[in-house]
Structure formats: C-alpha cells, structure tokens
Amino acid sequence: MIGNAVRKLGNGITGGGRFSFDNDRLTRWVLSGFGLVLLLAFWEAVTTVLSLNPKYFPGPMGVVNELIRIWPAIVAALPNTLSAALVGYLLALALSIVIAIPLVASDRLLNALMPFIIGTNTVPRIAMTPLVIYWVSFYSVSMLYLANYVMAVWVAFFPMLIAAIDGFRSIDEDTENMLEVYGATTWQEFKYVRFKNGLPFIFDGMKIGFVLAMIGAVVGEFVSGTFGIGSQAASAIGRTSIARAFAIVLVLGLISTGVVLIVYLIESKMIFWRESSIMGDE
C-alpha cells in the first residue's frame, strides 16, 4: 500500500501519471469550457436577433431564470426519480455481473443465450414502457412507482451484461493456456484473471448504464405519471412551458454527467495499471 502511494505521488511529481494536472489537460478543460460559453452565447444571440417568442424558443438566460424559479419543485421531485434510476442502475449492474459469470464459464450456455441477449439489446426497450406499467399496475396500483425501477433495470441491464461478458472473455490465448497448464479451475480463472481483466469493459458499460437507467426511470414517469422529475417534465411540455422542460432536462443532464464522472473517478482508482481519464491523456 505504501509502495502504491509513493508510486502515485511519484507520478504526480513527474507529471506522467493520471493524477497530474499537466498543461495539456488544463488546455483541454479551458478549451471545452470556452466551447460551452460560445455555444450558449450563440443560442442566446439567435433567440434575441430573431426575436423568437420566449414561450416557445427560450434562450439560455430564460432557462436559467426558470430553473431558479422552479428549483424547490425540482428538489421535491428529484428523490423519487433519482432513487429509481440509481437503485435500478446498481441492480442492473449486479445482475449483469452475476449472470455473466456462468455464461462465460460455459460455452454451451453462452451459445444458447447469446442470440437472445443480443436480440433483446437491439430492441428499442423503451418502447416496452406501457407494457411494464401495465404489468406493474396489475401487481399493485398503489406501488405503480415500482414500474420506474423496473424500467431503469430493463433499459440499463443488457448493454451492461454484454460489456461484462466481453470483459470476462477478453483474456488472451497465452494467458488461457498458462492457466490450463497450472490446472486452474474455472473459479480460479475468474478470481485471478477474468474479473480484473474485465474491469475496463465493465466500467465502459457502467458509463452507458447510468445514462440508460436515468432514461428508463424518466420515461417510466412520463408514462406512469407517478410523482417525480420525469412527470414534471411531461406536464411542463403538456402546458407548453418550454423553458421549464429545458430546465428539467438541464438538471437531469447535469446529474447524469456527475454520476458518469464519479464512475470515471472510481475507474481510475481501481484500474490503476491502465491510463484512463475523463479528458483523455494521450
């Protein structure tokens, strides 16, 4: 552990590691910030110059003003949505790993189920929302909000499952042969090689996964009408309150970005042997 800490410190000093904040990276952050400001200025300018009706085409300032105005309502609606997205996400992640293990351990099982998995992954799963809501309401109308959790799992699970399968399978032939020569059992293969080797794939899946879980939860609320930020957005659009819809989307986007950034951070701590960073090192 101490050796590790020293190593990281060393990387920081020499500027070669992930935890350094070198000039290149600073430049990239500054540039992307500049790009964002430019984009917002352009948006504001277009709405002003063309004197668009702010009711239908609000500028960024209008959206921010609306966001400040409805902030208490958003804060009240967020917990339900976030809980559905986050719980659904973690559940989908756990399921994807647990299910990927036997699939990778048995070629027969994988061959039998892979077409189904890929097929389901290709289907626009979000289109199933009304069905999911129908089934959950059949189970319990008073717990209709459960449909949002189910949607989050349903939408996020398959890409993460495929990522986990690809990850666990990604060991090279020499390593596989080496394990065979030592007589490693299937479980030892996972314990010593496959889990760690699959991590980069799993983290990539996790980055897509949260965004998808959020979409699942929000669309679930759109359709079910249960209280949450998704149903707030739906009603804002229903009342042609475009600025409010934008404000809600902005909040959702920021939350998703925040979670994905956290995933990146955990990734760079866990996969210490590989260079990885939010803005890219190379």
Binding site: D172, D174, N177, M178, V181, Y182, Y192, V193, W273
Partner: protein, 281 residues
C-alpha cells in the same frame, strides 16, 4: 484409456526412465473428429526423446506445427494418436503432475494488476489451492526472491509489469515458470518478439539459468542461430505434415559465451543448418 496396464508398468520402473520428455509416434490431426471433410495433418509420426538435463530446440518453417508440439507436451492439446510422456507419465493421464512442467510463451503473460513478485507467485497460489504442491507458501516466497536475483530483477519485485521493458517482462515469465521448480521447461519462441541485442543477452542468461537449475528444456524457435547457440540437439521439422526431418547434434563446448558465436564450429553448424533448412522448402 486402454493403455492402463502399460501406464502402470511405466510408473513402476519410473526410476529407470531417462527420457524426461518423450513423444511416442505422435500424430496431431486438426478437424479429425469433426464432420468436416477437410482435416489438416499438423504433425505426423513424431518420435522424440529428450534426456534429463538436455537442451533441445525445435526449428521449422512457420506452420510446421512447432507450437502444436509444445502444446501437446504441456497437455494443452491432446495427440490424435500416440502419446506424450513427461517423466514416464502420459501428460493426458490423471497421474501427470502439473508441477513438473513450466511453460514460457512468446508474449509475456504477466498480469498488469499484480506486482512482479505476485505474478511470479501466481502459479503456486493456484497449485497450492488445488493441493498440487505441499510446501508452505513462505518457502515459495523465499524462492521468488531467489528467482528475482537469478534472472537479474533484484529490486523490481514490487514494480508493476507496465513499468518494465519487454525483455524484463519476459524475465518475469521465466521466473514464474520456475517458481514451483518444475523439472521440465517448455519455451515457445520466448525471445521472438525482442530486439536482437536483448535477445542475445537473454540467450546467455537462459544458458546460465539452465546450468544453475539443471532443467530439461524444450525450446521452440524460428531463429536457427539461436537454436545452434543454445542447444545440445536441434530438431528440424519439415512442413505440412510436420515430421522430424533431422536431428542435429550441436557439439559446441560448454559453457558457451559471447565468443561461441565467433567460433569456426558455430559458423559451420549454423551454415549447415541454414543449408539444410533451405533444402526443405
């Protein structure tokens, strides 16, 4: 298996067996068991005995089945016909002891998330968990330190593989294959992906390690000079189907060193092998 009796008698007089590695009329046909019409004969009628402590190289044009040969000795592939024995025991039988064989591949297989020392310890962790070795882990921890200095990696035990050069990584793999003290070392073009200077350096190191550990080595290479420099005997495989075309005795004095490559006999043997190799193609 119907050769149970045969096997029994082999284990009985195991002490009189001198052949550490023994290929007994081995055929390997790919696609033989499939319904597919086309099957490829990779190796045909291979008879080859490697004596205890001997260094034998196998050379041959690409696609002649060199790696297949090695993988059969390692037990990764099963011969279509015939058998491969290590210390008199069929490698496919349950009596075969995994700890008798060490394997070094062309590409280093060091795991990126393990330190050098932990990579070297990986085989004994697995073998120990499966009850294939008896000694305490502390014994192997001490041995890992010995190996680190044997292969010239003192002070790198706590480094990670991506902090090492290709040559150093291959030294890690060699230590890894030696940690449980196997009697046989199978090497599949271990220095094939290294630059010429590193390769020469590691050739010398390998000879020193071989001398100090008294292993039996079966070494696959496509570099004829490397084969001559290292070996007691060089086995030449002919292409498609792979057959033993010739076995050449290398009567160069040992220990061999830098000046061996400049000796008249080395140049002669190398030229002879190159000539013979050309006639095969």
């Amino acid at each position: 298996m119907n050769n149970k009796i045969e096997q029994q008698s082999r284990t009985d007089d195991a002490e009189s067996v001198d052949h550490t590695i023994s290929f007994d009329s081995v055929d390997k046909v790919y696609g033989a068991d499939a319904v597919a019409e086309e099957s490829v004969v990779a190796l045909q009628d291979i008879d080859l005995d490697v004596e205890r402590g001997e260094f034998v190289s196998v050379v041959g044009p690409s696609g002649c089945g060199k790696t297949t040969l090695l993988h059969m000795a390692a037990g990764i592939l099963e011969p279509t016909d015939g058998s491969v024995q290590i210390n008199g025991v069929d490698v496919q039988s349950s009596q075969h002891e995994r700890k008798e064989v060490g394997l070094v591949f062309q590409h280093p297989v060091a795991l990126e998330w393990r330190t050098v020392r932990k990579n070297i310890m990986l085989p004994v962790q697995i073998l120990k968990e499966n009850g294939a070795i008896d000694k305490d882990m502390s014994h192997y921890e001490d041995r890992a330190d010995e190996l680190l200095s044997l292969v010239g990696l003192e002070g790198f035990g706590d480094a990670y593989p991506n902090e090492l050069s290709g040559g150093m990584q291959q030294r890690v793999t060699i230590s890894q294959s030696l940690i449980y003290n196997p009697s046989v070392l199978l090497m599949d073009e271990p220095f094939g992906s290294l630059d010429a200077m590193t390769k020469d350096e590691l050739n010398l190191e390998l000879l020193r390690i071989w001398r100090e550990t008294e292993k039996t080595i079966l070494f696959i290479t496509h570099d004829l000079d490397e084969a001559v420099f290292l070996s007691d005997r060089v086995v030449v495989l002919s292409p498609r189907p792979g057959e033993v075309a010739d076995v050449i005795d290398i009567d160069l004095d040992r220990p061999r060193g830098e000046d061996t490559r400049g000796s008249t006999r080395f140049v002669e043997l190398s030229a002879e092998l190159h000539q013979y190799f050309k006639s095969l193609q």
